[in-house]
Symmetry: C2
Subunit: 348 residues, 2 copies
C-alpha cells in the first residue's frame, strides 16, 4: 500500500503542472501511470496493466453503475472530488443491495493543473477506496487544453456483486411500506455553497459525504426486507421521492416536522433561499421497508447515525399518480414536486 | 429500438441548447433521460432505471475497462465522439479476449451545447452499440458552466465476459512469437488533423474507427493461440510495442518496409512532419501468436482487412531490456522508443 505521508512521486520541480503530453499516450503519461497511479491504486489483483483488467467474480449477479464528478470547488469541508468519486459510485451500487468490489477511474485533467493537486486527489481516491473496501483496478487519463476543462473531472464506474435474492428497486415498493431516512439533510449542498459564496458560520458545516454500502449490507444480513433504496444526491430528498413515487405508481406521505435538519444548515438555507428538501446530500438514503422490518432496520441505521428516523409511508391514495405529499410544520399538507430548474450547479 | 430517422425528441424551439439544469437532478434532467436516453438506449435488460443496474452474467470471469473521450472536433470523417466512445471501450475489452456485453455512458456537457448535437451523438452511440453488439445499460449526465468544458466529453466503461482459458496479456509473450498487424496505419490521427488544420487531399481520409471484438473472438474460436493483443491508439504502433516489450522484458524486431500505410496518409505525414509509427489509430491492433497459429490468424484477419500482415517477431536478443528495433526502408536498423512529448492532443 502507498505510504500517504510521502510527497508527490512526480518531481514537482520538473513537472509542476499537468501538460497536454500527460494524456498523450507517450512517456509522460507512462510516468504518471507508473509513478503515481499504480503505486497509489495497487491492488491484490494479479492481472498486470493492460487495455482492460480481468477479474474472477465470486458470483455472476452483478450491479453496474457510473457517475462523473465535476464538483466545484475540488476541495470542500468534509471531502473533495476524490472522496466524492468513490463514495458516490459505491453508494449507487449499494442502492441495489450490491456489495461494491471494483471501480474504474477516468480523469479528464485541464492543462496547467498543479501536479500537487492531482496527487492530493489521487491519495483521497485511494484512502476512500480503502475505507469503502473497494479496489480501483482500471483507469484512463485524458488532458484537455487550458480553458476547455476545469482542473479535474473524474468518472468512476463500479461493479458490485449481489449475494441475496431481494429485488431492491422501485417496482418492489408496496402500499403500507414505511419510509426511513438515514440522517440529517442538506449538509453537502450547504458545505459547497458556503465555500463558493464565502459564507461563514459559527462552526464549519461539513459535507455528509460517506460510503453507505456496509450499512445497507448489515441491514440485509440482519434479515431486513428492503423493498427500495435511493441515495439523496442532486435534487435532494424531494426529487428522489418523486422518482420512486412515479416509478412505483404510488403516493408517498411524508411528515416534514420529523425530518432532521441541523440548525446551522436550516439557518443557511433560510439565508440562501433554499428548501432543505431539495438540497443535495452525499451520505444519506431513504429505505422503503414493510412494517415488520422497521424495528431492525432503524436499530442498525441508528447505530450509524442516531438521527435516522421514520419520515413517512406509502399509501394507496391517488394510486398510479406518483405523488409526494408533505405535512408541513404548520400542519398543512402540500404536494412536493421534483426540483424545477437548477438550484446548485456542479454540486457533485 | 429507436427510429433513427426521427428528429430530436426534445422540442428544439423550447430547449435549443443544454442548460445547467439539464444536469441538476430535477425535471429537465429527467426529461432528457426519459425522452432522449431511455428510448435511444432501450435494451432487453428488464431492470428498471435505478441508481445502478442489475444484470446476470453468463460467466463470472470478466474484463473491465474505462476510457474518457475528449476528441476535438466532435465529428470527423469516419466517425464522431459517439462511435469512438463505443468502439474504443469495446476494443479495450477485446484486447483481453473478452466478449463485450455492457457499457456505461457518462456525459459531461457544456452549457450552451446545441441540443441537436447531443442528439446526433446519442444516435451514433446507439447505432455503434448495435453494430458492436453491446448494450448501454447505465449512465450519468453532468453539465458544466459555459467555458469550463468543450461541448461534449464522454466516458464509457465496459464489461465483457471471458469464455476461454487463454491468458491474453504481455506476460504470455514468448520468444519466437510472430507479430501481426491488422491493417494500414495512421488514418484516425491524420483524419482528425486534416479537419483541424483544414488540409484538403484528393480524397477524404477517413478514420479507421471500428469495433474489433468479433474479429478477435473469431480467431480464438478458430483455435488460434493468442499470446497478447494491443489496440493502437494514442502513441501509435511504436508506443504500443514499447509497452509490451517493456512489460514482457523482450526485444521486438519490426520490419518497417512491410507496414501498410496508405499513400495519402504517408503524404500527409510528410507534410505534417509525423512518423506513421506514432500516429493514432482506432481500429487497428497487433497480435502476438506462436508460429503455428500464424496461418489461421492471418487468414481470419485478412478476411476483415486484406492489408493485415506479419510485421515482426519476438527475439531473445537483449532480453529483459524491453527494446523495439525497426529495420527501415534503407535497410538500417534503429531503436524505436515510446512517443515523447505530445503529437496530436485530443485525438480520442
Amino acid at each position: 500500500m502507498t505510504d500517504f505521508t510521502l510527497s508527490c512521486p512526480i518531481p514537482l520541480d520538473q513537472y509542476p503542472q499537468i501538460l497536454l503530453a500527460h494524456g498523450g499516450g507517450g512517456k509522460l503519461m507512462q510516468q504518471l501511470i507508473e509513478k503515481m497511479f499504480f503505486p497509489a491504486f495497487k491492488t491484490t489483483n494479479p492481472s498486470p496493466p493492460h487495455d482492460s483488467v480481468v477479474v474472477n467474480l465470486p458470483t455472476s449477479k452483478i450491479a453496474f453503475t457510473t457517475d462523473s464528478y465535476v464538483i466545484h470547488p475540488l476541495f470542500f469541508p468534509g471531502g473533495n472530488i476524490g472522496s466524492l468519486a468513490v463514495n458516490g459510485t459505491v453508494n449507487d451500487l449499494a442502492m441495489s443491495g450490491a456489495k461494491p468490489l471494483y471501480l474504474s477511474v477516468g480523469f479528464i485533467l485541464e492543462e496547467g493543473l498543479p501536479m500537487e493537486t492531482l496527487w492530493r486527489v489521487v491519495k483521497s481516491l485511494q484512502e476512500t477506496a480503502l475505507t469503502a473496501q473497494v479496489q480501483i483496478i482500471t483507469g484512463d487519463t485524458k488532458v484537455v487544453d487550458r480553458g476547455k476543462g476545469d482542473g479535474i473531472f473524474i468518472n468512476t464506474a463500479g461493479i458490485g456483486i449481489i449475494e441475496h435474492n431481494q429485488v431492491i428497486a422501485p417496482q418492489s415498493v408496496q402500499q403500507g411500506d414505511i419510509i426511513l431516512l438515514s440522517g440529517d439533510l442538506g449538509r453537502h449542498g450547504i458545505a459547497i455553497m458556503a465555500v463558493r459564496e464565502g459564507l461563514e458560520f459559527e462552526t464549519t458545516i461539513e459535507s455528509d459525504c460517506a460510503p453507505l454500502a456496509h450499512l445497507i449490507l448489515e441491514m440485509i444480513e440482519a434479515g431486513v426486507s428492503v423493498h427500495c433504496l435511493r441515495d439523496l444526491t442532486r435534487g435532494g430528498l424531494a426529487s428522489a421521492l418523486n422518482e420512486i413515487a412515479t416509478s412505483a405508481g404510488v403516493t408517498l406521505k411524508i411528515d416534514e416536522t420529523v425530518i432532521p435538519v441541523r440548525e446551522d444548515v436550516q439557518g443557511a438555507c433560510e439565508i440562501l433561499g433554499f428548501d432543505p428538501l431539495y438540497v443535495a446530500n452525499e451520505g444519506r438514503f431513504v429505505a422503503f421497508v414493510p412494517p415488520n422490518s422497521v424495528e431492525t432496520a432503524l436499530e442498525i441505521m441508528r447505530a450509524h447515525d442516531q438521527s435516522s428516523c421514520i419520515i413517512g409511508q406509502v399509501t394507496g391514495e391517488g394510486s398510479g399518480m406518483g405523488l409526494v405529499t408533505v405535512k408541513s410544520k404548520i400542519g398543512a399538507s402540500r404536494i412536493v414536486d421534483m426540483l424545477s430548474g437548477e438550484q446548485l450547479p456542479r454540486i457533485c
